[in-house]
């Protein structure tokens, strides 16, 4: 095998692909070829490095230099300076938000220091399209171990002892799920992977599939061995083309290598995995709806019991786990349940991957030990709130979760603490909000989403969320009535108690949690017809403060509707009839003379 003195890793996750990493990779290959370095320097595509905000991301080893926002035109300089002369290109290095310091190595960055990467262990390290790179980093070693050294029940016991809980939302103990399916009677059983990640702003599962598809395949095989199944299905969104492509490549390579199929590793164990593409219905992330969709029926949930562990795919015992849950399995088998259980807290073991977004400096993907506080994630890893704004709340758990206020920032992140706070772990979306976000508006946003995505099978979800949304629209339009808050709470209670599936039962959470922590904002909308954050368009208007206006005319130029007029060097006025409240004049005015009221 060739020895290379340097590896150039180019992130080819969805985030960096969107910001142009394809061109960057090509430019590297061309430049290295041109310089005659092809035998010394290897260019490798890799999965998500986490700091998607700063893409395209490039990592050069052995130094571990981390270059951000690299453009194709930067490549000749990087090759000349770094790869030929050994001088790091300072201007492209990652810059810390607080200290403005340029850091030379990935491991020095605050964003990575507090992270512990188990599920993401291979993301940004290996080339996901080369099975040998996965094997090199202990890939398929866990499978070999269970097939030769462990009985199926021992595998289940090991997963149980690790304390691993489902990473897709509910947090059900994974080992118990496997035990139910193992105990269920039947010759034919199935292993299903839920890769129908649908929460707005969440992309953990996509990153694992793109960066390390083999870890999911290996874990599904281990699950199959544990419960006595020979077939697995991965249900992945068709909107994730890169993930689908990498999965297809991985499955084909595993088959060619005999790591899927008959008589795997000569042990007599048979297992194969098939892909099913989802068409983007949010409800298909619910397990019974997902199974219906895999079978080719309409993706609608059904009442449980019977649970899938007894009657799942085509009526056979089935386990269904989320992508991230599976990605944790091989390290648990290799390092032992004690190792895994030593990470995290008493009731939440291991790590959790979060997709951090919204009003935060380091938008991206982080994996942290359970029990890390929200403050650590938002300020130390996330780099805080941009533009000196004040933190207001963080939304976790997507449309099923809730908003957690600043007073709870020091709360450790665990399944149970999040539920107590009126939110939930969910699949791991984390949306940060600052003082400019109106909490009523946020509740309306999430309810609009669930209302849109409601499959319509059960009335509480179909009609109940519609009624709740109408009330929220009324409130944000300044037409709220006395008693609306109580009505919302009542409706929420009934929907939670009576909806058929998890989607409906949790749909009112964003409303309930915002009422719980930000009731004053609801009251301001209803009683004073005022939006404290200045976000609800119907409740604000823009005015020119005559004493501050110098009549420079910049606002006139940016106003898209020609609503502003005035003599030069004289105070201007806004025609309220024409104003569409786009905020352009507010942003543009150099003297702060525009007032939002």
């Amino acid at each position: 095998m060739e020895i290379y003195r340097a590896h150039v890793l180019v992130c080819k996750g969805t985030g960096c692909t969107a910001s142009g990493s394809e061109n960057v990779m090509e430019a590297f290959q061309k430049e290295i070829e041109k310089r005659g370095l092809s035998k010394e320097v290897r260019v490798v595509q890799t999965g998500c490095l986490g700091l998607c905000e700063l893409g395209p991301n490039v990592l050069i080893y052995p130094e571990g230099s981390y270059y951000c926002r690299v453009k194709a035109e930067d490549i000749p300089e990087i090759v000349e300076e770094h790869l030929v002369k050994g001088r790091i290109v300072e201007r492209l290095l990652y810059k810390e938000h607080l200290t403005e310091e340029r850091l030379r190595s990935l491991t020095d960055i605050d964003f990575y220091k507090k992270q512990k990467r188990i599920a993401l262990r291979n993301c940004g390290l290996i080339n996901p399209e080369v099975i040998e790179e996965y094997i090199a980093n202990d890939g398929y070693k866990a499978l070999a171990k269970v097939l030769t050294q462990m009985k199926p029940q021992e595998v289940i016991d090991e997963v149980k002892k690790s304390g691993l809980r489902g990473r897709g939302g509910g947090g059900f103990p994974t080992g118990n799920k496997w035990q139910f399916a193992a105990n269920a009677k039947g010759d034919i059983k199935y292993v299903v992977c839920n890769a129908d990640e649908g929460d707005p702003g969440a992309f953990m599962d996509r990153s694992v599939l793109e960066g390390d598809p083999h870890s999911v395949l290996e874990a599904m095989e281990i699950a199959g061995y544990a419960i006595g199944a020979q077939e697995g299905y991965i249900y992945v969104r068709a909107e994730y083309p890169i993930a689908v492509k990498r999965l297809e490549i991985a499955i084909n390579q595993a088959r060619e290598r005999g790591l899927l199929g008959k008589n795997i590793l000569g042990t007599g164990f048979n297992f194969d995995i098939f892909l099913r593409l989802g068409s983007g219905a949010f409800v298909c992330g619910e397990e019974t709806a997902l199974l219906a969709s895999v079978e080719g029926r309409r993706g609608e949930p059904r009442p449980r019991p019977p649970f899938p562990a007894n009657e799942g795919l085509w009526g056979k015992p089935t386990i269904i786990n989320n992508v991230e849950t599976y990605a944790n399995i091989p390290p648990i088998i290799l390092n032992g349940s004690d190792w895994f259980a030593s990470i995290g807290t008493e009731r939440s073991k291991g790590t959790k991957v979060f997709a951090v977004g919204g009003k935060i400096n380091n938008t991206g993907l982080v994996e942290i030990p359970m029990g890390t506080t929200l403050r650590e994630v938002i300020y130390e890893i996330g780099g805080g709130i941009p533009n000196g704004k004040k933190f207001k709340a963080v939304q976790t758990g997507g449309p099923s979760g809730g908003c957690i206020p600043a007073s709870l920032l020091d709360m450790p992140i665990e399944y149970d603490t999040l539920v107590q706070a009126g939110s939930m772990m969910g699949s791991g979306g984390m949306i940060v909000m600052d003082e400019d976000n109106c909490m009523v508006d946020i509740a309306k946003f999430f309810l609009t989403f669930t209302q849109d995505e409601s499959c319509g099978k059960c009335p509480p979800c179909r009609i109940g969320t519609k009624r709740m949304l109408e009330i929220l629209e009324r409130i944000t339009n300044g037409e709220g009535k006395e008693g609306d808050i109580e009505l919302l709470e009542n409706l929420a209670k009934s929907i939670k108690a009576s909806a058929l599936c998890g989607l409906g039962q949790t749909a009112p959470n964003p409303v309930l949690s915002t009422i719980r922590y930000f009731r004053d904002e609801y009251e301001a909308h209803i009683k004073e017809k005022r939006c404290p954050a200045g976000a609800c368009k119907a409740l604000i208007h823009y005015e020119v403060m005559a004493d501050k206006c110098r009549g420079c005319g910049l606002c006139v130029k940016v106003c898209p509707t020609g609503a502003i007029s005035g003599e030069r060097k004289q105070p201007h006025v806004i025609d309220q009839e024409k104003c569409i409240k786009c905020n352009s004049c507010f942003d543009r005015c150099p003297f702060g003379a525009i007032k939002k009221a």
Binding site: M1, E2, I3, Y4, R5, A6, H7, L9, E40, Y61, P62, E63, G64, L83, V84, K85, G86, R87, L125, I126, V130, I131, E132, E133, I135, A136, N137, D138, G139, Y140, K141, A144, L147, T148, Q253, E256, R257, G258, L259, L265, G266
Partner: protein, 124 residues
């Protein structure tokens, strides 16, 4: 691609594949070889020296050595300069390194831990 028929074959492939990703892991515990690659170094033949080091590393299947470059450090007359930095040991700088010397440095110093005093930078 051939089918992997047994655990032993899987382990064999893992061993061969280790080199694919070795350079991206645990670099702080490896021996660092730094070759001076300023204009002066390149003119004096630093490239040949570096390629010889890489070739020797490959031939001897060393997985705990990384090779990097650096710019001119001001001693152009002694180029090509090669630093060998073993973990927790002081840096050793060799001067006027050519293909043959480079190979010896890998064998004697990096593998057998013997500094070649005659080629070390003189006290100037």
């Amino acid at each position: 691609m051939a089918v992997i028929k047994s655990i032993e074959e899987l382990e064999k492939i893992r061993d061969q594949a280790k080199d694919l990703i070795n350079l991206r892991k645990d670099n702080e515990t490896k021996t660092r070889v730094v070759v001076g690659m300023g204009t002066c170094g390149i003119a004096a033949g630093a490239r040949q020296a570096m390629l010889a080091i890489l070739d020797e590393i490959k031939k001897r299947n060393l997985d705990n050595v990384i090779v990097t470059e650096t710019g001119c450090i001001g001693l152009c007359k002694y180029e090509p300069l090669v630093d060998v930095i073993k973990p927790n040991q002081p840096k050793v700088t060799y001067v006027n390194v050519n293909d043959e010397k480079a190979r010896q440095i890998v064998v004697k110093h990096i593998i057998n831990n013997q500094v070649i005093d005659d080629w070390v930078i003189p006290n100037i």
